[in-house]
Symmetry: C2
Subunit: 136 residues, 2 copies
DNA sequence: CGTATATTGTTGCTAGTAGCAAGTAATGTG
DNA sequence: CACATTACTTGCTACTAGCAACAATATACG
């Protein structure tokens, strides 16, 4: 199954790569920053460590990605009051708009990927992804 | 759904990253080469273009990955007889052994990921992945 | 209280990833 | 035979990513 999952990830990349790169260029985002905007939730603040963990990145790399996003105005960062080692990051309005744009892209991708599935099969797929998500 | 898929890919990475890196180090493979061994099928020969397409990479990048694998003895490449522009690549015995090793890793990952699912749910997930694969 | 330890994050460094543009060689087309 | 196309290759640049070393804060413990 995991092999099937691997193939699936590649297939999705093949289908969506063009669309994704277009939006990245449009927003001036690198691939990592693109992903980061998704991982940074809508409004809640997140620490560097949490961000690194969610992105499955080393702390150093995560810090640099965040730094770039702050420099570009997508993210606001401030030191925590409780623990002055940590910085709390959250999306700026510009960041939220970009995130919205990304989700539109994802829906377009989904339409392209799932176009060949009838309603019943589509429901099965949705259900299965939900199952996997909870299993993790 | 696509967002769920995105989260899923990250979650799988979090679960399997360590295992994957261990095997890459063991075999002296970079991440791209690791993926390439999966994409290069068991015995069949494949052209550079086909390889690039399957890996969802540009031709130039794909060529370099293949070149490295040839240099390291995982892949054998020869010019095609029919079209002397194309090179045909296939796994060497060393490459096949490494590929086998990678699939063992993938099964370990699968066990870790799907450990929390009962037989019925697992079947649903397998079925859904198959559906998605055919839809692509 | 004070020292050892752990956590959070930053910076320099190096290796790996990846597309673009320009070039080459072989093939197909009119 | 000229021209376009295809299948690469190479040089270049930017991005990705972990490691090691460092700094600052927080926590545990004698």
């Amino acid at each position: 199954m995991s092999r099937r999952f691997f193939e699936l990830v590649l297939a999705v990349r093949r289908k969506c790569q063009g669309n994704e790169e277009r939006i990245q260029r449009e927003l001036g985002l690198s691939p990592a920053e693109f992903n980061a905007l998704i991982v940074l939730g809508e409004g809640a603040e997140i620490t560097g460590c949490q961000f690194a963990e969610r992105m499955a990145l080393s702390l150093s790399r995560a810090g640099r990605v965040l730094g770039k996003l702050v420099a570009d105005g997508y993210v606001r960062a401030r030191p925590s009051d409780k623990d002055r080692r940590t910085t709390l990051a959250s999306l700026t309005p510009k960041g939220r708009r970009a995130r919205q744009r990304i989700f539109e892209h994802m829906e377009a991708c989904e339409a392209r990927i799932c176009g060949g599935l009838d309603a019943e099969r589509l429901a099965q797929v949705r259900n299965a992804l939900e199952l996997l998500e909870t299993a993790l």
